[in-house]
Assembly symmetry: C2
Homo-oligomer: 320 residues x 2
């Protein structure tokens, strides 16, 4: 920790970044840490590789986030890489690491490969935001309402509102501290959950009505054609949560969403709810990966063939 404080004090140019396709935890954590660092050192860049969706535009400091294009000619004394299990999750902005004197890798993924000069990896944290909170406290950085809002949002999104096992007693203790900063929880919840489109709800209705159950109702299958996405006018991102609805059926052990993709490909998302039904192993049969209860893969085949394969391969993972 002393080494990190020294590094921060001795760095003139600092950058804070996170992975491609950033989520609530990555955006929350880069804003929280970036804002806190700016209070000590004006010369801090916050950036991500992609252009951002507007989902998190309510977060304080959101307009400070630059795209990689805007900073790619710069070099840094110190770069913080947040919420990245490995450096390749940075996309093309990975080249930025070579132009930085020191790399701090701050993350909570169990698969983290410790690519930094300093690695702060806590696999027991609900989120990278949880680690940022602990770090700021330890470094005696001032936490204000804006920073608390970003951290709370990251914790909420990565822990599924404290539902997942990763939300521990420490997570709740931190949430308790954050709420004391008088953050507008209602605004956070509105932005996270109550800005859905009519199209997306109608599409959910369509998917549920067409959900199929196989293997004595232990396997739920959602088959999502490219034409249905077009018909309902929904973006790919609206498909993401649908697989969870199948998992939440009492008899279901595995839920799978099969989404028709470009170039005769099918994207598969798997969910389970029991520790003894390991969908990562199932995904690996299709050269995919992920976690025990949430995994994915992409295969080159038709939707009908993909469905047949999934039914066949799921059998061995569903004990009866």
């Amino acid at each position: 920790m002393n080494k990190l404080i020294e590094l921060i004090c001795n760095s003139n140019h600092i950058a804070v970044t996170s992975h491609v396709d950033p989520d609530g935890d990555s955006i929350g954590s880069i804003l929280a840490l970036g804002t806190a660092l700016k209070q000590k050192n004006g010369n801090v860049e916050i950036f991500v590789n992609d252009t951002l969706s507007n989902k998190y535009d309510f977060l304080p400091g959101y307009s400070l986030i630059k795209s990689y294009d805007a900073i790619q000619d710069k070099s840094f004394d110190l770069i913080f890489v947040l919420d990245c299990g490995d450096e390749h999750r940075l996309g093309s902005s990975v080249e930025c690491l070579e132009k930085s004197k020191s790399v701090v890798n701050l993350d909570h993924h169990i698969s983290n490969n410790h690519f930094g000069d300093i690695n702060i990896v806590d696999v027991n944290a609900s989120s990278t935001c949880e680690i940022v909170y602990l770090l700021l406290s330890e470094l005696n950085f001032r936490i204000d309402r804006a920073i608390a809002t970003c951290i709370y949002t990251g914790i909420v999104t990565d822990s599924g509102n404290f539902v997942y096992d990763n939300a521990t007693d420490r997570t709740h203790l931190i949430a308790s501290e954050l709420l004391k900063y008088n953050i507008d929880k209602q605004e956070i919840m509105y932005n996270l959950y109550q800005r859905k489109s009519i199209h997306s709800l109608k599409f959910l209705g369509h998917c549920l009505s067409n959900m199929e159950l196989e293997l004595d109702n232990s396997l739920a299958i959602f088959t999502i054609t490219a034409s249905s996405l077009k018909e309902f006018m929904v973006p790919y991102s609206d498909v993401e949560g649908i697989v969870n609805y199948g998992r939440d059926i009492e008899t279901v052990k595995i839920s799978v969403a099969l989404r028709e993709d470009k170039d005769h490909k099918v994207k598969m998302s798997f969910r389970s709810k029991d520790d003894d039904v390991d969908v990562r192993a199932l995904a690996e049969l299709f050269n995919g990966g992920g976690h025990k209860k949430a995994a994915g893969a992409t295969i080159s085949t038709s939707l009908a063939e993909a469905k047949m394969l999934v039914i066949e391969k799921s059998k061995q993972f569903i004990r009866r």
Copy 2:
């Protein structure tokens, strides 16, 4: 508080009960308090007016809950009435209060009418379980894993997983303490959210597909016929959450579910997401009531007529 301790110590026969149609907070709180009292005093009855659904059968001590039938000939020195805004929420078991020497009214509803001899009403608590936790701590009662499981379940169900405004810094602090008792959070979450029926998901799909939007997409309407409930083989209780899906659409200010009931009646459920759209006032126009963001009413009319009335009356509540 001293008076309460004295009462507990001097009571030979104690009862703990809650309202009709009990939910996670009422069942969690009577089990938590009842179990704790039993440790001090063997002679404690835990009961509710109704026969229970099996939704909460995973809670420790669940089998101790008796129906009112089984205890109605008894009288008590002390009765705790939990999570009841007024005594009439007890249904026919309200007569039990007259056969009890002292009544403790322990609740968190703002509408509470202080019907007890001792009233412990904390409208800032997320749940009655939150108050039970504070009470047990103050009385130096021993909290164990079973009691912690019941309290955590009540907090989670009444705060919508810490999403609602009622989940404060104190609520999270208590959740943090409860998780230290090594409770099986995964089992709780499985029982609360992952035991849905296929029928109920198919019915949700049907409702979403048939959802109507009125008043420039600011009013979402779900019309639920008696025949659709029969066709999808779902109980009335499966209808409850559906109105929330409409609320979560960005353009929607009021969501309403109209459910065809017996005897030419329609049950109306209203939801809003903004503090300035008061659906309680809307429900009152139909002789109903509730909270600002969640209210209900029952009217004697047809579904078609109810829909027309709701559209007409909603206009004044939706500012444009």
